[in-house]
Symmetry: C2
Amino acid sequence: MDDRSHTAATASDALEVLSAPYAPLRETETGPRSLSDVAYARFIDALFDRRITPGATLSQADLVRILDVPLAPLRDALRVLQTEGLLTIHARSGIALAKPDFGMIRNTYQLRAILERAAIRSFAEIAEIGLIGELTDCAEAVIVAVQGQEISAAGAQAVERIDFGFHMRVVACLQNPLIQTTYRQAHSFDRLIRLDRAFRLSAPLVVRTMIEHLDILAACARRDANVAEAALEVHFARAMQRAMGCA
Amino acid sequence: MDDRSHTAATASDALEVLSAPYAPLRETETGPRSLSDVAYARFIDALFDRRITPGATLSQADLVRILDVPLAPLRDALRVLQTEGLLTIHARSGIALAKPDFGMIRNTYQLRAILERAAIRSFAEIAEIGLIGELTDCAEAVIVAVQGQEISAAGAQAVERIDFGFHMRVVACLQNPLIQTTYRQAHSFDRLIRLDRAFRLSAPLVVRTMIEHLDILAACARRDANVAEAALEVHFARAMQRAMGCA
DNA sequence: TTCGAGACTCTGATATATCAGTTGTCATGG
DNA sequence: CCATGACAACTGATATATCAGAGTCTCGAA
């Protein structure tokens, strides 16, 4: 037992280390400077920590208490979150949080697929071989790390980060801030979806995902945009099925 | 002279009438209910009425005076406009409005092209023949209406609305609110670009644009997605060139 | 079932605090 | 004596907190 828990810890650590390089991708800014940004970040965190549940309606006062931010910055953040589609402000009757449904899943994956299908062609053609190799090594290392292990919460987060990092790198290759912002937005929808549907990671699932990544990367390494695009389409179709809980 | 101004007026009227059916597409809501929405709308209007100039930096107080809205709702609106990329809020040093440059043009048209290329395939395959016919008739009517005329300001607006209506209908066919919102956002960038680059409509230009629309629609009527996509790509390439002022 | 009162909630306004940018002055070096 | 640099106070703008107002939902009673 000791042995097993030890290896599990090692695997988790390995995942942490692997995902470390992706950390900078997440923080586009040096850090939140206004309370509005803090409120926004706290809201997202609270959402993904399940401290506020999707689909619920709650008041601004509730959020002030939960997030521990003043009212005005919270209002600013709520307005932004509304334009992003994560909630709806019903005047004088509360904040309605978005509840992921099948329509939302479809919309999110459709948008992601459209953007990334365009990006993968560029990526396959112009991405530096070094970057492709790096991502490949990382995916392979993940497979080794999770092989036959239970995935801890921290490990799941690390896998999340690696998965997102891969996709974001692909999209980043278009060098288009508009698209990156949109993609990031779609990604937070995606996180919300997986969260709500009690989506749990398992080692075989992670392995399957990483193998799909490797398929895509292999095509990119061969500079074969068509195959890369096809592999990406397969990846998205399967990811959507997984998100829908038909994995 | 009388005769000419008379026909010009007629042409303008014709454009107004033609664009009328597209009006409902613009207002997604029944109307602004909160002052924040008013502030947002006023800002956009002021931008496109050139009452505030792109690239300038101004203070919240200035905007309160110009837009004639209270401070708090304005702040809400500014926060949204910042996430949309139309401005940057510099803490305690003013609001920097986005200035369209070549990078922005490229980014906007790239995003629009990616989204619409995906949409046109659906459109070609599933759009109702009646709708395609309607759009075709409209484009043809525009050509007749502007033929050899000077384009008035009202006429230009009408053409704008028709052009946007066509593209929006195509995108709407995906029935994906996320994509529609993103597209709408990109469109307001597009408007900003055309505005800044002193982009003026001329009759031959409108005619060329409408002919490109007709090419696309013809392919859609034949249910030929590949040709439609190709025609759309040509349209976007030319539209970008036009926006860059190389028309 | 319907109507009314009350409480609760969001919205908009105002005052205060904090912070970035600027300008002026003083000291030091040439 | 003049020029240049740094430092400090000031100005103006934004951020935050608090408060009043208006609308809506709910609960209870007729």
